[in-house]
Every structure is written in C-alpha cells, then in structure tokens.
Amino acid sequence: MLRNNRDSFGLISILFHWVIALIFLGQIPLGYWMTRTSDFTLQFSLYQWHKSFGFLVLGLSALRLVWKFANTRPGDPATMGPLERVAAHGAHIVLYLSLFLIPLTGWAIASSSPLQIPTFMFNLVVIPPLPLAVSDSAEAFWTASHAYLAYFSAFVAVGHILAALHHHFWKRDAILVRMLNPHHKDRQQTLTQEVKS
C-alpha cells in the first residue's frame, strides 16, 4: 500500500506526485502575480511565499527522488508504442529536472540580487544564499533562466496532463487511476469478481 509494486504506485509516490504537482503549478501564477503587482507590501509577502514554496518543492523533490530509487516503477501498459514510451519518459525526465533546476535558479536569483533579501522559509528556517556573484546583471541572468525554465516546464506539464487524460478517456487504461488510487488493481479485481458472481 505504501510502496510501489509492478502494477501500481504506492501511497507515498502518489502523495509526492500530487503535493509537488499542486505546489509546482501554484507557483506559476504566484510568480506571475508577484512580479506584476504595484503594491509593494503585497509584493514583498508574495515573494516570500514564492521562495518558501520553492524550497518546499526542492526539499520534497529530493525526498521523492530517494523514494523513487528505493521503489520499483510500475510498468508501461502493453498497448503503448515505442514513440509513446519515449515521449512519456522524456516528459518525465524534463519534469523531474525542472523540479530541481527551477527552485535552484530561483535560489540563485535571491542569492545574486543586490537587494540581498534573506530567505526565511515560512518564517521558520533561514536558507543561506548560494555563493554566487552579486550584481544586477547576475540577478537578471538568473531571473531569465528561472522564467524560461518555468514556462518551458509548464508547457511540458500540459503535455503530461493531456497524455494522462488521453490514457484515461480514450485508451481507457489504468495510467491515471494508478496515480490516484494505491489499491486500483485490487479494486478492479474485486469489481470483476463481483460482476462474475
């Protein structure tokens, strides 16, 4: 139930996926909003929330990666062609990389900015700056990297979501269900048995 098996994701993997996905997707409109508001008080708070959630994504993603390597990965459905598999796994790799590179470039912005605003994650933990050059141009470089990576990953995430919906509604396989319900296989079997009896 907690661990993955060959057919399904366990509860831990499922929680990692959805909690990180929710924060990750929330960070995009938050980042968009905070850079465009003209209310300085609100802007300061929004930046701190964005930084705190970014470090949360980074921390959770590191744990998730450890968990991923300590677990088997449920196999692809036999109906998937080689191109579909390459596209699916390619998207997963890009999204995994994004979960690290985007928070890291965000951390680089906070570290290289001449404003030198401390990062006080959820007003609980002080995160030290990365040892980077501090200048307006360094800050601009990391800001651009962070933004392009974010928009690119959002594009890939949309593809990932559409693919999951395609599997669920068109191909009617268990790809989406196994990321929602750690018991899905057992349940399907139970349902099949109930129908038979």
Binding site: T41, F44, Q48, P114, I117, P118, F120, N123, V126
Partner: protein
C-alpha cells in the same frame, strides 16, 4: 651653571605640561555654563539608521534632509528641548530599489506623509555628559512615545555636537512590512551638530 640652566628648563617644561593638563578641565567648567542657548541643527549632521535581518547583516542608510532646533539649559537640563523634522523622501541606502521601497506606501508613504517629526517632552540628565531625551515621534500620521540617548561629543563657543542613539519600533507607525525577516527595531545612530542661533 649649565646644570642649573638644564634643571630650570626641565622644571619650566614640567610646569607648562602640568598647566596644559588642567586646561581642558578649566575650559569645560567655563563652557558648560556657556552652552546655554538656542541651536539650529546643521545639515552637516548625520542621521544614520540600521535595520537588522535574520541570519545577520541588514539595511543601513541615512536621511539627507532634515531640520530642527534645540534649546540647552545646562543649569536645569529639564528645561531643555528639541524639535526635529525628518524628510523620509531623502532616505539613502546606496540601493535605488530599496530606497523606492522605503519611500513607497509600504513604508514611509512619503507622498502622503512628507515629514517625520520628533518633539521632546522630557529631557533627563543621566551622567555629567549624557541625557535621556523622551518625546513624541510622529510618522505616517501615527504618534507614539520614543526616547533617545544623547551624549555630548564636542562643543565650542557657538557650536555643539551630540551623539544620539535610539531604537524605534516601526510597527507602532504602521511600517512593519517585512517583519520578521527584517527586525521591527530600527536603530538610529546620529551625529547632531548645532550652531548657536
């Protein structure tokens, strides 16, 4: 003969040295009664401040524009007083983005509240050359008690310099944006130079 001359020279030198050593004391005793009067605060004064931040360091800066007058009554310190006006628009930190933030309605709101004023209500001598200056500080339309510690740094016939320190809780003036990342306490470190008026 030579030795006598030498001895006399030495005695004279010692005499001069001893007399000189007493000069400051005599001068001070003379001028302390002479410092009584009204003074105008000179633009050469320095109004420095600092706000600490989590993890060490903080924001330091000063205000370039200010004005004020004070009255000194050394024989009865309680009769002394000070009125001081600060123009927050003139805040200087060496970082334009921080200055714009401080001037904005997030902090000083200098467009709507162009001055910060301090009026002493009670000056109490705390040692031969120090005093506690209590008064009312008005900023952003809010008035709250504040006190500063003044120490005599230098004085001559027509001018006098005090080193003044004090801590202000910015939350009392609706300026607590950024806490707890930035301390609620603003530390003032000022050099107040008065010219007899």
């Amino acid at each position: 003969m030579k030795t006598t001359t030498r001895l006399l020279t030495t005695v004279t030198r010692i005499g001069i040295a001893v007399s000189l050593a007493f000069v400051p004391l005599v001068a001070k005793a003379d001028t302390l009664s002479q410092v009584a009067g009204s003074y105008k605060i000179q633009p050469s004064s320095r109004i420095g401040f600092s706000v600490g931040q989590v993890g060490g360091g903080g924001i330091t800066g000063d205000f370039k524009k200010f004005s004020g007058v004070f009255k000194l009554n050394p024989s009865n310190i309680g009769q002394s007083s000070i009125n001081f006006t600060l123009y927050p628009e003139s805040v200087s930190t060496g970082q334009a983005r921080i200055e714009n933030f401080l001037r904005s309605d997030a902090v000083f709101d200098s467009a709507n509240f162009p001055t910060i004023t301090f009026r002493s209500t009670q000056i109490t001598q705390t040692s031969p050359n120090t005093a506690e200056v209590a008064g009312m500080l008005t900023a952003r339309g809010k008035t709250s008690p504040a006190s500063f510690q003044a120490s005599l740094a230098d004085h001559s016939k027509n001018s006098i310099t005090f080193h003044v320190e004090g801590k202000i809780m910015r939350s009392r003036y609706g300026m607590d944006v950024g806490t707890p990342i930035y301390s609620n306490v603003v530390q003032f470190d000022m050099q107040i130079e008065g010219q007899r008026s």
